[in-house]
Symmetry: D2
Subunit: 273 residues, 4 copies
């Protein structure tokens, strides 16, 4: 019998078909971040035990657009860029676990299957969406530049409905790129039991973050954000009570695994709707 | 702390955001099937232990296109059909486990995220692709009809490369719709360990099949099949040595879970490439 | 010098690259039609002179979804169905010209480039959109059937915004499939002048319709329709004052050209915004 | 009767629905150019009279990928970037007309409808395609940089088939960005007659070019190019006999109309296939 190779499915004798390569994974991209306050009860609605609200500013939310190019250690995906470019928008909140503060991605949309596969591995709950964000360019005819007065738009749609749109006008450099997505991520990885009505077959709480992180200056300025209803999404429940800030930053990241915090074997972390 | 609801990610207080609803799942669709023989060694390359080749016709392969409309018990997805229609193409082989014969999907491409999510649950190794198959219609101006002389084309592409194309010309009704995809499915569900280089965190061998299955007559006839190379796919390694047959059939299916055959806790089912 | 061939661009020595083949064009498909009344002034806003409102029910509008498979006389597109299947949604009003009543498509969205090319030829003002309509199927697990109680949804989106959605519940057969899209089409074909600020280089009023038309029974029933705003569309200005009816019908059509009613050489038919 | 507004279709009382705004149009983007020599007879196959081959290097071809962000004078599209970003790949040759040398786009693929609409106006024979080109980024984790050793890939697909792929490795700055796409464009704008078998209703030869053009340094280096067959395309007929060079350059462009060289009223410029 053949030994199977490949980091992810489909596993084969060669491993060549795997939807995603083995980490480390390398990323270069631009982040447009909007931070705002919502009702902390709505954040608590997204935190399964044993995760809890943080004490300081518990209703803070970050909605982040990212325009990425990414690759494996071989860098071969960069030469066939349908395999390396993708866009995403994701919602991050903070949570508390045994006295530590974590960031947690509660909703995320991407536009490539390899990004979905990475999400299954990393515990990002990825769906397909259509994301667009204005790109800076050295020539201003059809583009803003990263600097005072630069105006950047960003939109998110899924299921043929617009879910969010933002406009950020840069004013000045900022000491940080916001504070909500600034902690290690605490994510669940869950597989429902295969038998009808069974508890989860596997549920794990993991922690991960970037192995390497480089970034240009963060820019901040005025930002507007609108969220829209959808029958299949709950983003609009995180109603915007107060804008905290908007940020634009170019970054380079390496991700190379995380660590398991707990394997929840009794299925108690979930209760089917 | 809130109890989380939702069959799949993202789990929330309401469960409304789940990428996929709880089973049962309901399907109506058209299947275009091409069965052929390849080198059995190439089939063995896709069967992890303890699965083995079947003794009778071990190199038989089915490449199946399906044009689906599907929904949950609520049927609400049918009224917002971006959430219910999808297309797929998938490759099935047979394997032997403890004296029983199973079918096994070794490669599959779909065009919607909810279909990917179902695949993670059911052990189908789904990627995104672009699939097209000729549709029958009561009026012949721009369509064949399911009957003698009806000609149906089917194509599969992924990563902006064409991977397969088939043309089936119907001749007569057939006693069956082929034999390769006729057994319960034996699939693996695997989550790699989150730590760099770690063994799989979870690996399970499951069995599943339709709870309910209705079908119209199967039609057969002449069929041509061409497979094409891609750096990220291994479909073309399953070279066509001999065509067995081509089939067209309309079906209605209900899927409502499966059963776990084995949970492989030591990670031995895989070896990273 | 080479003679160029090809019905449409790009023209080459062989004609093989033409975005669209020479007519006749053959279609099989399903139509979901919603007819309603809006303010006739809004219809008049879409009728350039010499077209005028009809006297009888001048505010009647048809919003039609169509799920097509189409081909040229060679039928080769049917075997490579990415080249033959497309979906569309379009808005039709009636107008009067020299005492005759015409139908006129005022807005239309499609999802393939060959459909856009046909529109440039036929005077349909086609944009890209994302259209979905529930499909009937012989097996009811995931599909309605064309008959009493069959429920069909339809949606339209463009620019990552939903523009319209309808739900039609069939009750009984109908003597007709509505009356708004029942006349020959009167369309303009216009090319703006290439010089900045120049009048139109070409403007022609044409008439066309199906050369051959076959259809199954029209079904009617209860219908709901919702229209949504978009900064780049004016569909929602045709506000729904009163629903006239909803219809479902399967059809086969051949289109083989039309006739020129007038060539407007002075550019007076348009005035740039 | 209402006066109609809007630069392009659909024209309405407000002009808001027009697929494209009035020029001028503003662009910022990155160009990856591959120049090579093919058999001049194949170039002649694409030049309708009175255009002829140039004497100097008549078989020179440029295949250009462009990653654009574009907008109208209002710049509003930049804030809803689904309306401003698009990618394209296009093939340019040179031709001679009355002693002058022109560039001419003979094949082009884009991924947005507004780009198709602009093409109808400007005489670019645009189809839909899927184009990807590696993006430079300040952080190297997942991106090359524009400088020595920077490696850029580019691919083109249409109809679910890959048509071309290139890899460019930068070595040094270049005095130019190639010579094939360096002249004013000579394009045809053609509308076939609406009656079956009729000659063209309108055929015009126009000249246009950028009103404003800014550019960074052009970089050159080693380049590989592969072209692939398709039943609906003739790109691969322009076989690569010899690579001339590869170039990368960032540019800003304004386009604001052109001028008519000839209106061909007798339809003699084309002969249907």
């Amino acid at each position: 019998m053949t030994d199977m190779k490949g980091f992810f499915y489909p596993r084969t004798a060669s491993g060549r078909s795997s939807l995603i390569p083995s980490p480390p994974w390398y990323y270069s991209g631009d982040l447009l971040t909007v931070e705002y306050r919502t009702d902390p009860t709505r954040v608590a609605d997204l935190l399964p035990a044993p995760l809890g609200l943080v004490q300081d500013d518990p209703g803070a939310v970050a909605l982040i657009w990212a325009d990425w190019q990414s690759c494996s250690a071989s860098r071969e995906e960069l030469l066939d860029p349908v395999r390396s470019q993708y866009k995403e928008a994701f919602v991050v909140v903070r949570c508390s676990l045994e006295g530590r503060t974590y960031s947690r991605c509660v909703f995320i949309w991407v536009d490539k299957d390899f990004a979905i596969g990475r999400g299954v591995h990393q515990g990002y709950p990825k769906k397909l969406g259509s994301m667009w964000q204005t790109r800076p360019h050295p020539f201003p005819q059809g583009a803003p530049q990263i600097g005072p007065g630069g105006v950047f738009g960003a939109t998110l749609a899924a299921g043929d409905r617009r879910l969010a749109e933002a406009v950020l006008t840069l004013r000045e450099e900022s000491a940080d790129n916001g504070f909500v997505n600034a902690h290690p991520m605490a994510h669940h990885r869950v597989l429902p039991g295969i038998a009808r009505g069974a508890p989860d077959a596997f549920a794990e709480l993991i922690e991960s973050g970037a192995t390497q992180f480089e970034a240009g200056p963060a820019w901040t300025g005025e930002v507007e954000l609108r969220l829209f209803e959808s029958p299949t999404e709950e983003l609009a429940l995180l109603r915007v009570h107060e804008i905290i800030g908007g940020y634009y930053r170019q970054v380079g990241v390496v991700w190379d695994g995380g660590r398991s915090l707990a394997v929840l074997t009794d299925g108690s972390a979930s209760e089917d709707a």
